[in-house]
Amino acid sequence: MVTSLSGDLRYGGYVTRRGYDLWKQEINKQGGIEVGGEKYNVQLVYADAKSQPSTGADAASKMISNEKVDAVLGPYSSNVTLSVAPIMDKNEMPHITGSAESPDVWKKQFKYTFGTIPTVSVTADKVAETLLKLKPNAESVYVTGVNEPFSKSTAEAMKTGAKKAGVNVLGYDLYPRNTDYTNVVSKAKSKSPDFHMHGGHISSHVKLMKAAKQLDYNPNGFFMHYGVNTSSYKDGLKADAKDTFGATLWLPQVKRSGGVLFGTPQKYTDAAKAAYNSAPDYTQAASTAAGIVYQEALKKLGSKPPLSKDDRKKLIDILENLKVQTFYGTVDFETSGDRYHDNLGTEPLAIQLQDNLDPKIVGPKDVAEAEADYPVPAWNAR
């Protein structure tokens, strides 16, 4: 396993590690992975990417040559994944990541790299479409984003989702990371959109909402994509975080059929809480799912460890054709095009922070657990 255990990304790095460790813990509790009638315990070797793409690539190379691993669980963040993936292709080493979300990872079509998180360009697009169908139907939207690869892809996908929903896009602006959001808000407010959508990281979400409150900007809803269900977003805004719409791929309460290893999302949550004393997020869940996918592929392969080069090639073919039902959702990898080896099976969820800032699933309809509070109250009525 290569992930960031130090540096700026270490928080996210440890989320992926918890996900991978939990998979190892659970499968070993059941005696290990059954291959050809015998069970083998999973052993994880850790390599620290130190939050740097180049260090991640070095760490991955060293791990492959020194530790003789059979397969790799991938790093935290798309940037580090993009530097690790070519090393995997060079060494013909299967690699599944539970965190990469940028569409750039899949456009490069790395043969040996797979990911359990659907790219942000699809999730933002679908959730935007879902939200714009809330009653009363929005007729216009204003889209903003931070001018960085991930955030820009998110904002572009929001724009695409709005167009698909037949909604008028009144403005589309990208801003530098440390902009003063009164300008962003003033420009958007002058157009009076029904919905405001923003692609960015958590601190930009918080700054945008603070400026919206300061300037009394009141569209019917704010959609901030990932991050609204984090303590960082909630700590940053306190009560003002309420009613924000966001996107996620998984929540403990989502109705999904479960499947291999952890029977239901709730059982997974209980196991995670018992192990780490905190509720898991979608990245941790997707990381555990990456392990589950390996275990199912290895069962099908039927070769005893250590795997030969031929075995590893066969494992790639198996992964391409595998469809696994997990507590996280269905994992089903794409085999061509711009989303090559990205997971197509897991549906994104539209969520809203409601009472006590608890995230409630408000769409799509078949999995919604609560009605959306929409239109959200004006700032002075909250």
């Binding site: 602006d173 990208l174 300008n183 003033s186 918080v206 603070k210 300037l215 700590d235 940053g236």
Partner: protein
């Protein structure tokens, strides 16, 4: 004139007010201690974090913490200055560079310490003042907290100027800035007055952090942008020319706002850098020509 135009102007002026709060102290230490403090943004960050932690612990309104944080960081700055003095005097070569390296170390240490102790999360400082606004129909909205911040920036500048130009202590600090050796020969306790100046700078800049935390948020990585803006401020104001800070804050805020709204937000930093370079080339003593380069 459209409301968007006037609102953009208001945004720019009030944003300038935020920059003034950071620029005043930085200009002071540059002018009187001749220290280029690379840690300026981290004093902002530390002040914002102190505000966030104290409001959460005490349950008080963030604005009440302004005097507490000022005193707290005045004391910290007062005791940091002797170390800074030590590395920038004696037989060390290039004292300016030594000061820069020393404060760079403080900045790195402060950022790392906050990240380790408090984690990477964004935090807020709560206050009743963050929700109010003055709305002038057809003109725009003046968020209360930004108005208070701008007023604080201007007021603190006036207080500093009063201290520097109307009191004995201020005269001593100006004498040290003019000529350290002669000041010492006149019986001025150099270390004490330098510590007062650095303490006042640290206290004021950390207090600016509370206001910035109220307007935006507190996060461990927030400091660097304010370090950059503090440098912009003193270049435009004229090195060491304290009153120029108000004009440079307003220019930076207004240019930033108008470029973001009427040109493209992607050109904001290009425009600001272009402005700095033009000022450096055409008027190296700042916008008003009263900085140190003029003498």
């Amino acid at each position: 004139m459209s409301e968007l135009f006037t609102q953009t102007l208001i945004n720019g002026l009030l944003l300038g007010g935020i920059y003034v709060t950071v620029g005043v102290g930085f200009s002071l230490v540059f002018g009187v201690l001749e220290v280029v403090d690379f840690a300026v943004g981290e004093w902002v960050m530390l002040g914002a974090f102190a505000g966030a932690v104290l409001t959460a612990a005490l349950g008080t309104d963030g604005l009440y913490l302004v005097p507490v944080v000022f005193v707290l960081f005045f004391v910290v700055g007062f005791f940091v200055q002797p170390f800074l003095h030590h590395v920038t005097t004696g037989d060390r070569p290039m004292p300016l560079l030594m000061g820069l390296v020393f404060t760079f170390g403080i900045a790195t240490f402060a950022r790392g310490a906050v990240l380790t102790i408090f984690g990477p999360n964004t935090r807020s400082i709560t206050s009743g003042a963050t929700s109010g606004a003055i709305t002038l129909s057809g003109i725009g909205v003046f968020p209360t907290i930004r108005v208070i911040t701008a007023a604080f920036g201007v007021l603190s500048l006036l207080v500093f100027m009063y201290y520097l130009y109307r009191t004995k202590g201020g005269m001593a600090i100006r004498a040290i800035a003019e000529d350290r050796t002669n000041a010492r020969l006149m019986g001025i306790n150099i270390r004490r007055y330098q510590s007062i100046a650095y303490g006042a700078y640290a206290g004021l800049t950390a207090t600016a952090g509370i206001f910035i935390g109220l307007i935006y948020t507190a996060s461990p990585g927030m400091g660097l942008q304010y370090t950059a803006f503090a440098f912009f401020m003193v270049v435009l104001a004229g090195l060491g020319y304290l009153p120029g800070v108000i004009l440079s804050g307003i220019v930076l805020g207004v240019v930033q706002s108008f470029v973001a709204v009427y040109v493209s937000s992607q050109w904001v930093f290009f425009s600001l850098f272009a402005l700095i370079y033009v000022v450096l080339l055409v008027s190296p003593a700042g916008l008003l020509g009263k900085g140190e380069a003029a003498t």
